[in-house]
C-alpha cells in the first residue's frame, strides 16, 4: 500500500498539519496499523522534495509539527494517476483497493470507475490463468485453480463494494 499516495489523497480535501494527517489516516485506514509520526514526516519530506506537496503557512515556534502542508498541481496529477491505474492483480490487495475507493469518494471522483478498472484487470488475469489451465498438465491446473479462486473472491468484493458505494459515500462524508 502506498502511504504517500494516501496522504496526498487526504491533502486534496485541504491543507493539514502532519499530526492532523496522521489522525485522519488512522481514522480511515489505520484500523490495525496506525501510522508512526516518524513515517508521516519522512513521507511528507519526500513528497515535498518531489514537488507533490508544499508548505502552506508555518506557525511560530519552528519544528516539523508546526508546518502545514498543501497538495500541489503535480500532486493532484499524481493521485489521479494512482487512482485510475488498477493494482496488479494479486492475492490480498484489499487494503490498497479500500484506500483508493475511500479517497475517490472523499475527493468527488468516481469510485465506480476505480472498481471497474480493477475488475477489468482482475478478469484479464483470470482469462490468462484459464488459458494456461487449458494447455497445462494437472499440476498447472491445480495451481491456476488456486489463483483463480482467490481472484474471484476479490472480484466478489469489488462487486459488493460497488453495490455499497452510496452507503460508503455517506459514511466517508460524515
Amino acid at each position: 500500500m502506498s502511504i504517500g499516495h494516501a496522504l496526498l489523497g487526504l491533502l486534496e480535501t485541504g491543507p493539514r498539519h502532519g499530526y492532523d494527517l496522521k489522525r485522519v489516516y488512522d481514522e480511515h485506514f489505520g484500523h490495525d496499523r496506525p501510522l508512526a509520526y516518524g513515517q508521516v514526516y519522512s513521507t511528507l519530506s519526500r513528497l515535498l522534495r518531489n514537488g507533490l506537496v508544499e508548505e502552506s503557512g508555518v506557525e511560530p515556534g519552528g519544528g516539523p509539527e508546526r508546518k502545514r502542508y498543501a497538495i500541489t498541481d503535480a500532486g493532484v496529477t499524481d493521485v489521479t494517476e494512482w487512482l485510475v491505474t488498477p493494482e496488479s492483480p494479486q492475492i490480498y490487495l484489499q487494503s490498497a483497493l479500500y484506500t483508493k475507493v475511500v479517497l475517490a469518494l472523499m475527493s468527488g471522483r468516481s469510485a465506480e470507475d476505480v472498481l471497474d478498472a480493477q475488475r477489468v484487470a482482475h478478469l484479464k488475469a483470470m482469462r490468462e490463468l484459464t488459458a494456461r489451465k487449458r494447455d497445462g498438465d494437472l499440476a498447472d491446473q491445480l495451481i491456476c485453480d488456486h489463483a483463480l479462486f482467490h481472484l474471484e473472491a476479490d472480484l466478489r468484493w469489488l462487486e459488493l463494494t460497488t453495490a455499497r458505494l452510496s452507503d460508503l459515500g455517506k459514511q466517508v462524508a460524515s
Binding site: 485510475v84 491505474t85 488498477p86 465506480e112 470507475d113 471497474d116 478498472a117 475488475r119 477489468v120 484487470a121 482482475h122 478478469l123 484479464k124 483470470m126 482469462r127 490463468l129 484459464t130 487449458r134 483463480l148 479462486f149 481472484l151 474471484e152 472480484l155 466478489r156 462487486e159 460497488t162 453495490a163
Partner: protein
Amino acid sequence: MTDVLLSGTDLRKSFGATPALDGASMTVRRGEIVAVMGPSGSGKSTLLHCLAGIVAPESGAVVFQGRELSAMSDRERSALRRGEFGFVFQFGQLVPELSLVENVALPLRLSGVRRKTAESTAREWMGRLEVDGIADKRPGEVSGGQGQRVAVARALVTGPKVIFADEPTGALDSLNGEQVMRLLVSTAKETGASIVLVTHEPRVAAYSDREVVVRDGKTRQVELVP
C-alpha cells in the same frame, strides 16, 4: 467495427413499474465470446432475451447481420431463432419424454430435416461434447453435468451463428461447470459461433474474450488502461 454480428442499442424494457433494462447497449462480433456479468436482478437475462428476439424491447434497436429484429415478422423472427441462434439455459430445457439424442435432434426436426439424418448429426455433436455414450438415455437418467453438455450439443446442432447461454453452469459444481465451459467454448471457437454468456460467476466469465457489466438495467463497458 465491420465485424459486428449482433448489436443492441439503448434498450429499454419494463415489467410493470420497474425498468428491467434502462438504456442497455452491447455488441457482439463474429466469433467473439462476450460475458454479461452483474448482480442478480440487474437485467442480464432480459438483455439476453432482447438480443435473441424472445422479448421485444419498448425502445432501442436490436440488429442482427444488418437487419433490425423489430422490423421482422413473427415468422421471420422465429425462423431466425431456430436457424441462426442456439440456446443453453441453467436447466429444464430438455424434453423429459424424449431420449437425449432425440432432444439434440429436435431443432433439426423442427426445421424439417429427416429423422435419420437429424439423429446421425445429433450423435456427431454428442460425440464432440463427450456424451455420445448416453445418447439413448432420457434426461432424468443422467447427471446435471451430462445434461448440460447434451443441451450444448442441442444448441450447436443447427450450426448457429450465436449461442445464447444464460447461467449455463449455474446448477453445476465447479468441476462439471468447468467441463461444460471448456467444451462449449472450444466447440464454439471451432465453428466460429459467437457466444453471449450470461453469468454472475467470475470464473465462468473468464472463458470469455470480453465482458459487459449490467447494473440496474444499464450496461458498463470499461476499456483496460494499458
